[in-house]
């Protein structure tokens, strides 16, 4: 399952970040921000139009991610 498919308020655990293409800078940055295997994440809020962007809590930090970015993150154990 992908992070972008999580409902608002749902929690999950990161499995990995997928490169959308070779040497994907966004995927690399996501990993640097802490989206690595085993980290719990939670979708805290979503934007007013079309549910975009998502506000994702990881660790003690909140990041705003657009859906295309969140789709790179594969998660386990979430409830869609």
């Amino acid at each position: 399952m992908r992070l972008s498919e999580l409902k608002k308020g749902a929690s999950a655990v990161v499995r990995e970040v997928e490169d959308a293409h070779a040497a994907d800078p966004i995927a690399r940055r996501l990993r640097e921000l802490g989206f690595v295997g085993g980290e719990p994440v939670r979708v805290v809020a979503s934007g007013p139009v079309g549910g975009d962007p998502l506000l994702v809590q990881i660790g003690y930090t909140r990041f705003a991610l657009r859906r295309a970015e969140a789709a790179r993150v594969l998660v386990d154990g979430g409830v869609a």
């Binding site: 805290v44 962007p53 506000l55």
Partner: protein
């Protein structure tokens, strides 16, 4: 000088919004801009301070970075300096890695990355006060052991909050001179997963009752609510413009009355010298006095800007509006630079260094001048005050405030439209990343806000007594000479150089309703937008025939002489016009290209002329 060059250099690095600049200000006593969002500092700033031992230490404040694998121009500066690759600058003697104690999981990763550089370093755990308040307990000794880096606690916003750091720097800089302290532990884990190390360090040294502060959770539920959040955003914006008009009016009248009285008194002393009398009353007092009246409004606007910046609300606003920015082809990262442009386009354009994609960055730079900078406020309020009645609409809103809001809104909408057109022209299909951190909320510190306002007032007064005064004197000179011939019937300005230039320009600007007085004011207005107001005041004071007209205020004068269509047309002009040489200069510097300057100036001028033309013709047809 030599001693200074040889004094040890210390670099402050760390994640964005970890309080590096606050620490820098605390240590060096300077007043660099700080705010509660990522990416305030985009330049390398240098300062120095004297340690208790008497040694002078040089301190570098660097832009925040999530990683040394730089993704944006500002991160690249930090990377280059840390690695000793910055042109003309050796690597720092000591690196102070600043981490937000309430956000260690993210920030320690960068600390470990910096550690891998193998340079002497120390970790400053900043915002310890906030951490304690949230019940976060950190065992400093255990953390230092787990990371293999010395650790000190700091509270950058508190007097004496950096004492431990200063003491440590003083000691370890002395050690650096003899032997590099703290060699890298050298174990194979250096290349292992940094995050695993962070987790281990946290487990060993930190107890955290819960992941986020309850206040943040509660506020975010309201502020980021799909409907409620947008309503709050609209209300906040609206409140600001209402306040700019309603609160400032009494202060403005007081300033105006004071300046008028002083002008009349000094003018009385100079009766025997008619030319000097004209310079002082028509030039300096009419011109500068008119601009000075807008100080209260500018300060009220900045009061709101400073409070919003400090509170951490701005990134939330960016979150709510992201979809709109996305449609226009802008990245979410453009929001902060564009918002800074409401103060002034120059720091706004510099703030685009935090944007990763060079094309996104250029688009943001090109549309930043469309955001209504505070220097336009005097022009707007002058015209609104003179032409828009002070009445209440819908039983709640001040009509003048509504018009001001509309003008700001027009700037925002056209910026989005221009960005959209640029995207189309480039057939841009690339991805625009957001990846924006939302900081914890913070209550604005009244003392910091007061200092910020005082700085603002100083900048404004320095401009009034500097460039605006100089240009006013020059304009007065050009409007007085050559002197009128014997037996002249019109006011002297009609025969002067400025008068002739104005009449010549009038041919170009007549279709958009500008008279020759406005045309004259447009030229010095290029140096600074407020000068257009002081220039108009000077020109009208000098065109006044007879003694009784001289006392008339600029607002009254233009209300009597201009048509509503002309006033609206000038307002529309100022929404777009590329009337700021410094902005063009900074575009040149940041993009390193005259072509971009030409593009920006060209399209802004074309838009301004078009908008004014349409406004003038429609308004004339209707009135």
């Amino acid at each position: 000088m030599n001693a200074l060059v040889e004094s040890p250099r210390i670099a402050l690095v760390g994640n964005p919004n970890s309080g590096k600049t606050a620490l820098f200000n605390r240590l060096t006593g300077s007043q660099q801009k700080v705010a509660n969002y990522a990416g305030v500092t985009v330049e390398r700033k240098e300062g120095r301070f004297v340690a208790p031992s008497g040694r002078t230490l040089r301190l570098l404040d660097l832009p925040g970075a999530y990683s040394l694998d730089a993704a944006s121009p500002d991160e690249a500066i930090t990377r280059d300096i840390c690695e000793g690759r910055y042109p003309g600058e050796p690597a720092p003697d000591l690196i102070v890695c600043v981490a937000d104690a309430t956000n260690l999981r993210l920030h320690l990763r960068f600390v470990l990355e910096v550690k891998r550089l193998g340079r002497p370093m120390v970790l400053a755990l900043n915002m310890m006060d906030a951490a304690r308040k949230r019940g976060i307990r950190i065992d400093v000794a255990a953390l230092s052991d787990a990371l293999g880096v010395p650790v000190v606690e700091t509270i950058a916003v508190q007097r004496g909050g950096a004492a431990a750091l200063v003491e440590h720097l003083d000691r370890s800089v002395a050690a650096v001179a003899t032997a590099p302290s703290l060699p890298d532990s050298g174990d194979a884990a250096v290349e292992a997963d940094l995050h695993a190390q962070v987790r281990a360090a946290l487990a060993a040294a930190v107890t955290m009752p819960r992941a986020t502060s309850t206040v943040d959770d509660a506020l975010d539920r309201i502020v980021l609510h799909p409907i409620g959040g947008l309503a709050i955003l609209a209300a906040v914006m609206f409140l600001i413009f209402q306040a700019v008009f309603s609160w400032a009016a009494p202060l403005q009248d007081a300033v105006g009355a004071g300046v008028g009285a002083a002008g009349a008194w000094i003018g009385g002393l100079l009766e025997s010298m008619p030319l000097l009398h004209s310079l002082v009353t028509d030039g300096i007092f009419a011109g500068l006095g008119t601009v000075l009246e807008f100080l209260p409004q500018i300060l009220i606007l900045f009061l709101f800007i400073l409070m919003l910046e400090e509170s951490g609300y701005l990134p939330r606003a960016a979150f709510l509006l992201d979809r709109l920015m996305f449609k226009a082809g802008l990245t979410g990262r453009s929001f902060i630079p564009l918002l800074s442009s409401f103060a002034c386009a120059i720091p706004g354009i510099m703030a685009t260094r935090s944007i990763q994609d060079p094309r996104d960055r250029l688009t943001t730079i090109l549309v930043a001048p469309l955001m209504t900078c505070s220097a336009r406020l005097p022009v707007y309020t002058l015209l609104i005050g003179a032409f828009i009645p002070r009445q209440t609409v819908l039983g709640l809103f001040n009509l003048q405030g509504v018009v001001l809001f509309t003008l700001y809104f027009a700037g925002i909408v056209s910026a989005l439209a221009v960005a959209w057109v640029i995207k189309r022209l480039r057939r841009d299909r690339s991805e625009h990343a957001l990846l924006m951190e939302l900081p914890s909320y913070r209550l604005p510190n009244p003392r910091d806000v007061a200092i910020g306002l005082w700085e603002r007032a100083k900048i404004f007064l320095r401009r009034v007594t500097g460039i605006i005064l100089a240009l006013t004197v020059l304009l007065w000179f050009l409007s007085s000479f050559p002197a009128p011939p014997e037996g002249a019937t019109l006011p002297p300005i009609d025969y002067s150089l400025a008068g002739r230039i104005g009449r010549w320009m009038e041919h170009v600007f007549a279709p958009i309703g500008f008279n020759w007085q406005i045309c004259i004011a447009l030229i010095p207005g290029l140096a600074a937008r407020e000068v257009a107001v002081s220039s108009l005041a000077t020109v009208y004071a000098m065109s006044a025939v007879g003694e009784d007209a001289i006392a008339a205020e600029l607002g009254t004068a233009i209300a009597a002489q201009w048509s509503l269509a002309t006033a609206l047309s000038l307002l529309a002009w100022y929404v777009f016009a590329p009337q700021c040489m410094s902005t063009l200069a900074v575009i040149r510097r940041e993009t390193n290209s005259w072509r971009n300057v030409g593009v920006a100036a060209g399209y802004l001028f074309a838009l301004a002329y078009l908008a004014s033309f349409v406004t003038y013709q429609i308004a004339r047809a209707l009135t």
